[in-house]
Amino acid sequence: MAEGVDFEDLVARYYAPLYQFAFSLTRDESSACDLTQQTFCVWAAKGHQLRDATKVKTWLFTTLHREFLGSRRRQTRFPHLELEGVADELPVISPASVNQLDAGELFDALSQLDEIYQTPVSLFYLQDCSYNEIADILNVPLGTVKSRLARGLARLHQLLADKSKP
């Protein structure tokens, strides 16, 4: 059981990555704060039901993602996409040109991704979650995570390449 998890320790450890994840989804500080706080409220009410304390991180990210989807009131079934050919679509974009983009432009590009790509791409870059954990959070098979990531990254790079053009 996860009952022995100290709430304050939990907040100290995860509030920042959860907020960053929330911000990457909402692009709004207030909404990201609300989502983060709501996630810990759900933990306070239901966290004791989690049997495996090693799953706390996944549980928190999953809950935040569900809260985000709930706030969007949108549920859609998405197809699995094959990886083949994705790498060929990847535009050439230099680190220097990406570095010149400000955070607003980056998250603006991220927000233009379809939601099925946006979430795994955020989790990919935040690097707090393994591929298996991302699969758990999104409740999809590992292969689907990878295909969505590949498509999402390709699309994001394309958008960033467009933005960095003079």
């Binding site: 907040v11 960053q20 911000f23 790498a87 990406v98 990254l153």
Partner: protein, 252 residues
């Protein structure tokens, strides 16, 4: 594995830990052998590093952690209130049963009169995103306001507490008795829903049972709120703040 397949695999490469995957290891080996693929991968990784850094630079609001923790205090208070309601309902059933002759319950001190219950209720007020009845940093205005509302106004502030930044006051009730809530700021970042983060509650000592021994402040850590309670003269004082024992003792 050809270059296109290796590229598709390396697209998702994040850290050296990924290299433990046999497919990734094979793709990495190919990138070392193939100059074009190797150059693409080096550029791609550099771009990815920049993007990753930008994600991780998302600034987290300074007060967010305190906000979450203060919300926890509210939730804990709510849970306990719900529990008290259940206990009260059960007690009512038992009393009703006694009235009709099934039980004979001896009279005693009501638990709602106890110091522990009073303290819990005051901490709940403090964390519940209260609104002050009077917002001012003028100590005399606070005393005048409390006196006008029949709440304890002739309280004695310990020296260090008197030096803290006062932000106002509110009048609360405890079992029909007026409680003075005097609010201060510690100087730490303040959660958005709280006008202060250091609270002094003053009440007539006769309204609370099981008091701390006179002259010996009693320390309690309730969740992340530290409190000190003491009796002086005819009054009971409770001072609370989010933090640990050292955070509260410095005000006495």
């Amino acid at each position: 594995m050809n270059c296109a397949e290796a590229k598709a695999i390396l697209l998702l490469y994040r850290t050296d830990a990924d290299a433990a995957d046999p497919q990734v290891a094979e793709a990495l080996a190919l990138a070392e052998q193939d100059a074009v693929l190797g150059r693409w991968f080096a550029d791609y990784r550099a771009t990815q590093d920049v993007l990753r850094e930008k994600f991780r630079q998302i600034p987290v609001p300074a007060a967010l952690k305190e906000q979450i923790l203060s919300e926890r205090v509210v939730m804990t208070g709510k849970k306990r209130r719900e529990k008290r309601v259940m206990v009260a309902a059960l007690a009512a059933l038992i009393i009703a049963a006694a009235v009709i002759g099934f039980f004979n319950i001896p009279r005693g001190a009501r638990p709602e009169d106890s110091f522990a219950m009073y303290q819990e209720q005051m901490i709940y007020y403090a964390g519940a995103g209260y609104a002050m009845d009077l917002a001012t940093n003028d100590p005399q205005q606070v005393r005048d306001f409390l006196a006008q509302h029949q709440a304890p106004a002739d309280y004695a502030l310990p020296g260090p507490l008197a030096q803290a930044a006062m932000t106002g006051c509110a009048v609360k009730e405890w079992n029909g008795t007026k409680v003075s809530m005097i609010c201060f700021r510690t100087g730490k970042p303040l959660p958005a829903n709280l006008p202060g983060d250091l609270w002094l509650f003053v009440v007539d000592r006769k309204s609370v049972k099981d008091l701390p021994a006179a002259g010996t402040p009693r320390f309690t850590q309730e969740e992340h709120v530290a409190t000190l309670a003491w009796v002086q003269g005819d009054k009971l004082y409770i001072l609370g703040t989010p933090g640990a024992e050292a955070d509260i003792r410095k005000y006495l």
